[in-house]
Symmetry: C2
Subunit: 345 residues, 2 copies
């Protein structure tokens, strides 16, 4: 067990000096001493004892990454390819900054608070936290906090969040669908509550409709069940001609792909019989045929940005915008067909 004291003894210096070398406090160590100490550090494969560090300095260099439960399907959060992509990004960034990542899944705010105290977490990244719970956590801790894909409209004080420009995404896709001549359109998503990504995307769609003097209201917002069987039952509604709707706008690629697949299996062709759009531009959307017209988001960037903000917070630097909305862009592929007489272009 190569400890600082041990190294100090071997180098014939004090423990403080070794500590100073370790922390690069060169103002307090001579070049000679530094090199000598470093050589021994290296030879003995010195590894710090983080327990002692936590105790002495009251911080751990651990970033807690909390996944709030079940954002989509009725399974472990992490099964969603989105979660794993963003987790990959967050892990890489945290490592790059020389921090450690403690992963935890929960839907209980007290667990989060306890974890933070127990481990003296330096910071926390919280994914998909309901706004109200997010506020509670924020208020009961001093630990720097960054939320991902959460919504905090009207929160009393700033909750740092990295999300998406959901509104523009909804607006872009609806504008496109409308430009292709579709009028009988529905929006399909998990969650109708406001505020929230799904709701905001819907509002974006609505704006596109309203700008054209059309209405887009609650009846055109279909809630998708968390249960796959239930969803399949719903998709049956989109089979048959003439179709009740000419375009289905999903708020997530996952469901869009599921629907395309289901429809194909039941003889309904996309886009010939019905047009479909997604949101996210994940791996599914490119793998399915027809490839999905969707809204692209840069998931890796989202994770990276969240950690970047957290590091600013940890270092006490000022963060200008509490609510970052990453840009999105329309990706036109093959799942939307023009309706005769549409104002193309």
């Amino acid at each position: 067990m190569a400890t600082i004291k041990e190294i100090a003894r071997k180098a014939g210096v004090s423990a403080t000096t070794v500590s100073n070398v370790l922390h690069g406090r060169m103002a307090r160590v001579s070049q000679d001493t530094k090199e000598k100490v470093e050589a021994i550090l290296d030879a003995d494969k010195y590894a710090p004892n983080m327990g002692a560090m936590i105790l002495a300095s009251n911080n751990s260099r651990i970033i807690g990454v909390i996944m709030f439960m079940k954002p989509r399907r009725n399974e472990t959060v992490l099964e969603d390819p989105f979660s794993s992509t963003i987790l990959g990004a967050i892990e890489a960034e945290i490592r790059r900054y020389g921090y450690f990542l403690m992963l935890h899944t929960t839907s209980d705010e007290n667990e989060v608070i306890r974890l933070s105290k127990t481990w003296k977490l330096d910071g926390l990244v919280l994914m998909w936290v309901p706004g109200s719970i997010g506020c509670v956590i924020r208020k009961s801790m001093e630990t720097p906090l960054v939320f991902v894909d959460s919504y905090f409209e009207g929160a009393s004080y700033p909750c740092f969040n990295v999300g998406l420009d959901d509104f523009s995404g909804g607006y872009a896709i609806a504008t496109y669908v409308l430009s292709m001549g579709h009028r009988r359109v529905v929006f399909l998503a998990n969650d109708k509550v406001y505020p929230g990504s799904d709701r905001t995307r819907f509002e974006g769609c609505r704006r596109a409709f309203e700008e054209r003097g059309l209405s887009f209201n609650e009846e055109q917002y279909i809630i998708l069940s968390k249960d796959a069987k239930e969803r399949h039952k719903l998709y049956r509604r989109f089979i048959g001609s003439p179709p009740e709707f000419t375009a289905l706008m999903f708020s997530a690629d996952y469901y869009a792909v599921e629907a395309v697949s289901f429809l194909a299996a039941h003889g309904t062709r996309v886009p010939e019989d019905v047009s479909v759009t997604g949101f996210d531009d994940n791996i599914f959307s490119r793998l399915i045929r027809p490839q999905l017209t969707t809204v692209h988001q840069d998931v890796y960037q989202k994770g990276k940005k969240a950690v970047e903000m957290l590091m600013l917070l940890i270092n006490g630097e000022s963060v200008v915008d509490a609510d970052v909305r990453l840009p999105v862009r329309l990706v036109v592929r093959d799942s939307v067909q023009a309706i005769a007489g549409a104002d193309l272009g």
Copy 2:
């Protein structure tokens, strides 16, 4: 900061007593004292300081989960839906046992060793570690170790591993493909090195061929590039009629789906023009049309089993089989077509 000392003061007892209550050492605490202390513990929301615990007892209750780099595509490991599923399982199990999970991505054994020392890790789960590196890690630490999907043929002493019965999987799928009348068949995988999952699956296939007096050799083992463009170039080879091969056996659903999608886009139908099989039975295989005939593995179970073994090791209990091979099963769906004259049934 509710510390043990603090709680002790409030309860009018000593710190040792509080510690005993905390650890359920009821033989050393009276019922009255216990209740009084617990009430205060609760009211003050006592949370242990793990730093102090590490220092005092030299273990952290942290399990390190190490993802070795890039098992498949040329991206972050975690983007693969497989990684996220198994990580979800591991996270849930670790939490269930009351441990903490530190996630780390690397391909450097020294980093793993350092991490373990720095944090006094109680155990490690290592995913996709090359056998040779695995041995090095195993030898340079006392920390309990469980590998996932690694291969240790001929290791000098036992490396605990949870894997799949890859051989039977390969055998099952090849037997099926042969029974459907296919003879011009190839196996497509990443890695030709032996030992390894891909190689073992191939060997399973070969056995099925040999049992029928057919040969299946190296020329029928095609290595898939890590680069998508390169793979697409390869897939072109399977377009056109008469086809060079009537069946393509992929060692992973991901690639099988990619190929099906590519072929569909180029007018080659699966299974009418060419049959395709996968391996894993992941979400892709059910979402694509035709749905994939593949080999099912229970990824969640794999993660669960790994943690279970690790807990046994941590508690010093004996683990009988060092190399667990989880069962697989053939899942027949729609991506393989019978060749005229095949011995069906």
